[in-house]
């Protein structure tokens, strides 16, 4: 047990409890982890259940297409995000060109748009009645059917949509890796006879490879988890399949079994990510960084660099955001009414409850890990961290199954003994929703707070103690001021993630309980894309907050380089 921890001081907690295996704090950690593990556990258990002939039916009809579509989606998106992410990352790190400073953070903006919203927007812009095709027809005097136009609502379209909003993961991580590389390594390669391009792919890319793969695996997880885009585009994948099996075929067991297959795919990606992070430790080139002097690019090369960085921002953020704004202006007099404010109210309510709960749990967990640094606590933290990899659809199914069972059992017991029917106590309530959000988004706040807490080094506690502060004073005068920022960041990140979340909310929400995300989804599915713009725009605007947090923390941590 750590003797450095704040609460391990004599007197604060009796020594025998301190050394006991059943310390209440440890028990609490185990309890939280077990509760949050229930959904995945239930999903995995479904393997042993019999789903009757539904599984056989799925196997014979759609399973292969789910697998093929998911693989095509993952590889297509993966390929696109590599070029969309790495090239701008390299350019803004190594060169000076017009607009570099703004572009270096603007490249993160597409993160603010959920994939389903960009999908609705481009569909509205590019379909037969959309502005682009109308313009083409007027300009060339074509009639409908005279010309070929790519269909956005297709597998290819889904690949482009997802890549446009997910490339920032690769951009972010590869840029961090490029900045960390010692410039000397590239220069050595030049003196050994490699030109700039050869040096890029023989030295810079291999060195950044672990970071690039880590970014790529995050993109793959998000792609596999996507529901909104593939549902709207009619691409049959696991997430839509789980939905259809549950609500269409009415088989919760078969839906859970599909989820198991999806989880296995995601497990592969998680392993890939863990492995690449392991590798990254050995790829540090130097502790001695010379100041990066960016090479100026002028004239044609400068313009090409600017264009290469502007394109992802334009297609991933500016164009869809402007289109949303135009639609919102056309329709908001109809859309913004009492009902719209109720949507905002519901969204904020859910997001606020989830973020406050997440932060409180996170503080409990993070301090638990600090006080009892042993294999069990670090396993619990790592285990909880994996929640982010689990698609919302899967979590929703995993929450619904045990809660429904609980409701039925309570109801049966009450009817038997009290003669009253309790109906749905847990499922179909906000409680179930919040629980699902915690499983998925607790890792987000855990990361943020853990990073902050690790900056409060144990020696600072000891220094405070040596100056006569007691435990309460140390918390108040050292920990709270140092952690404030990370706690706020954690709360904001969870807030925004919950606000954007679609599939879990869709499945678990109470009857007729609408949020901004749900309303956007419903309007889009009724082909009322222009009306969907107002709630969508609200989500995008809120989504910009984490982008600002992110770019600020980057520029602060790399003051030596920027």
């Amino acid at each position: 047990m750590s003797s450095l921890g704040l609460l391990s001081w004599p007197g604060f907690i009796p020594d025998w409890i301190q050394r006991s295996r059943f310390h209440p704090w440890l028990m609490g950690l185990i309890l939280i982890a077990s509760l949050l593990a229930i959904p995945v556990f239930c999903i995995l258990l479904s393997v042993f259940l019999d789903s009757g002939d539904v599984w056989q039916h799925l196997y014979e009809t759609v399973l292969v297409s789910y697998i093929l579509n998911s693989l095509a989606l993952v590889s297509g998106v993966g390929f696109l995000v590599l070029s969309l992410g790495i090239i701008p990352a390299w350019l803004v790190t190594m060169y000076k060109f017009p607009g570099r400073k703004i572009l270096s953070w603007a490249l993160l903006l597409p993160m603010a748009i959920p994939a389903y919203i960009i999908a609705y927007t481009y569909t509205g812009m590019l379909d037969v009645a959309g502005p682009l095709q109308i313009m083409l027809r007027e300009f060339f005097a074509w009639e409908y059917g005279d010309y070929w136009f790519p269909e956005v609502r297709s597998l290819g379209g889904a690949i482009f949509m997802l890549a446009l909003v997910l490339y920032p993961y690769v951009y972010l991580l590869s840029r961090a890796a490029f900045i960390e590389q010692s410039l000397c390594v590239l220069e050595v390669s030049r003196t050994l006879g490699c030109g700039p391009f050869r040096s890029f792919y023989k030295v810079a890319i291999p060195l950044a490879r672990p970071a690039i793969i880590a970014g790529l695996s995050l993109v793959m997880m998000e792609t596999l988890a996507d529901y909104g885009t593939v549902q709207y585009f009619g691409v049959a994948t696991f997430t839509t399949g789980i939905f259809r099996t549950w609500f269409g075929l009415g088989s919760s067991v078969a839906a859970a079994q599909l989820a198991v297959v999806l989880l296995m795919l995601i497990m592969l990606v998680v392993i890939l990510e863990a492995w690449s992070r392991q590798q990254a430790r050995y790829h540090h080139t130097s502790n001695r960084y010379s100041k990066l002097i960016r090479k100026p690019l002028r004239g044609v090369p400068g313009s090409i660099a600017t264009i290469a960085c502007v394109l992802p921002v334009a297609f991933g953020f500016v164009i869809p955001a402007v289109q949303l704004f135009i639609w919102a202006r056309q329709t908001w007099s109809d859309v913004i009414d009492k009902e719209f404010f109720a949507l905002i109210g519901h969204s904020v309510e859910l997001a606020a409850i989830a973020s406050v709960t997440a932060v409180l749990l996170t503080l409990f967990i993070a301090y638990g890990k600090r006080l009892f640094s042993n294999p069990l606590t670090s396993f619990i933290v790592r285990f909880l961290g994996m929640g982010y990899a689990i698609p919302g659809t899967v979590i929703a199914v995993g929450v619904l199954i045990p809660f429904a069972w609980l409701d039925n059992s309570v109801d049966a017991w009450m009817r038997l003994h009290m003669g009253v029917s309790t109906g749905l106590l847990f499922s179909g309530t906000i409680f179930a929703l919040i629980f699902a959000y915690l499983v998925r988004f607790l890792p987000v706040s855990l990361n943020a707070v853990d990073a902050g807490l690790s900056k409060v080094r144990p020696s600072m506690d000891e220094a405070g103690r040596s100056m006569g502060l007691n435990a309460g004073n140390i918390l108040r005068k050292i920990h709270v001021p140092m952690l404030k920022g990370s706690i706020l960041t954690a709360a904001l990140l969870v807030f925004v993630d919950v606000l954007k979340e679609l599939p879990a909310t869709l499945i678990l929400r109470p009857f007729n309980f609408n949020t901004l995300a749900i309303r956007t989804y419903e309007l889009a599915n009724e082909e009322r894309l222009a009306e969907a713009a107002s709630p969508a725009l609200a989500i995008v605007l809120v989504g910009i907050i984490p982008v600002i947090i992110l770019s600020r923390s980057i520029s602060r941590s790399r003051t030596g380089h920027d």
């Binding site: 050595v188 390669s189 030049r190 003196t191 050994l192 030109g195 790829h283 001695r288």
Partner: protein, 348 residues
Amino acid sequence: MTNTLELRDVSVAIEERPIINSLSFSLEKGEIACLLGPSGCGKTTLLRTIAGFERPTTGEVWLESRLVSDEHIMVPVEDRKVGMVFQDYALFPHLNVKDNIAFGLQQMNSNERKARVEEMAELLEVSSFLNDYPHRLSGGQQQRVALARAIATRPNVLLLDEPFASLDIELREQIAKEMRTVLKANGVTAILVSHNQMEAFAMADTIGVMRDGALLQWDNAFTLYHRPVCTYVADFVGDGVFLPGKVINSTNVETELGIINGGQSHGFAFDDEVIVLIRPDDIIHDDSSGMQAKVQDKAFRGAEFLYTLALESGLQVLTLVPSHHNHALDESIGIRLEIDHLVVFPAQ
């Protein structure tokens, strides 16, 4: 004999700020030179200009009788055949030792490449860890790999940027000597950048002392020490003090320590006010001497003491004395002068 490397009036500016001012020197094949100077004097910039990472604003750089840099011409780094060893060695962390050494040998076929890697590994004694990755190596091992990688390509000139700065201080001189042996045995022309004169003395045939982007003196170690061209070089290289004096005739100067005869003309006129460089080895401790000085400070150096002595006027001189002469502070001891090289500068 043609020069392997020649710089003619090279000036360099980085982001409009002048770093190197009209600097010239040349190196013969197999010669090892050291650019010596405090940090910020431009020595690393000069090295990078030779490598081709910086472009001179004026002047020319010639490598093997080929003009590689001037205001208009800029041969790319990769076409210059220069080897470079960086301060942090800059080994490729994703490649093992063998592949690091082979990195520059793309043009060779695989048999030649293998033979060359083995030859280098043997030369620099890295054969036992050829398959290890850089993060597993000690600083000294990394440095030998970096050197092997740089000279495997048989570069026209090898550039070493503070190659000993990352090593333990005790190791530096010994490794510098070993490196010199390797380079000399293979006829490698090399330029080393350092702020440490001991490294320079151990490695280089010729040393260039730099200050503020200018080359003050380009000579061997002995000449730098005994015949510095200016007070800056005299001060930067070795210990010593300046004693004020007056010129008596074309060879003699009178100082508080008496009349010093340099044996050759010092070039100053009668009655000129001058200062004379007195090295610690110019003053001999001699109990029988009538000239006395008081011990003000002493530093134990193992075999000898470096005493700081105060003359009657209060002026200080230094002397190296075998360490069995252990004198107390404030004790007066006998000294005499034994000056082989009279170094005179105008009084400031």
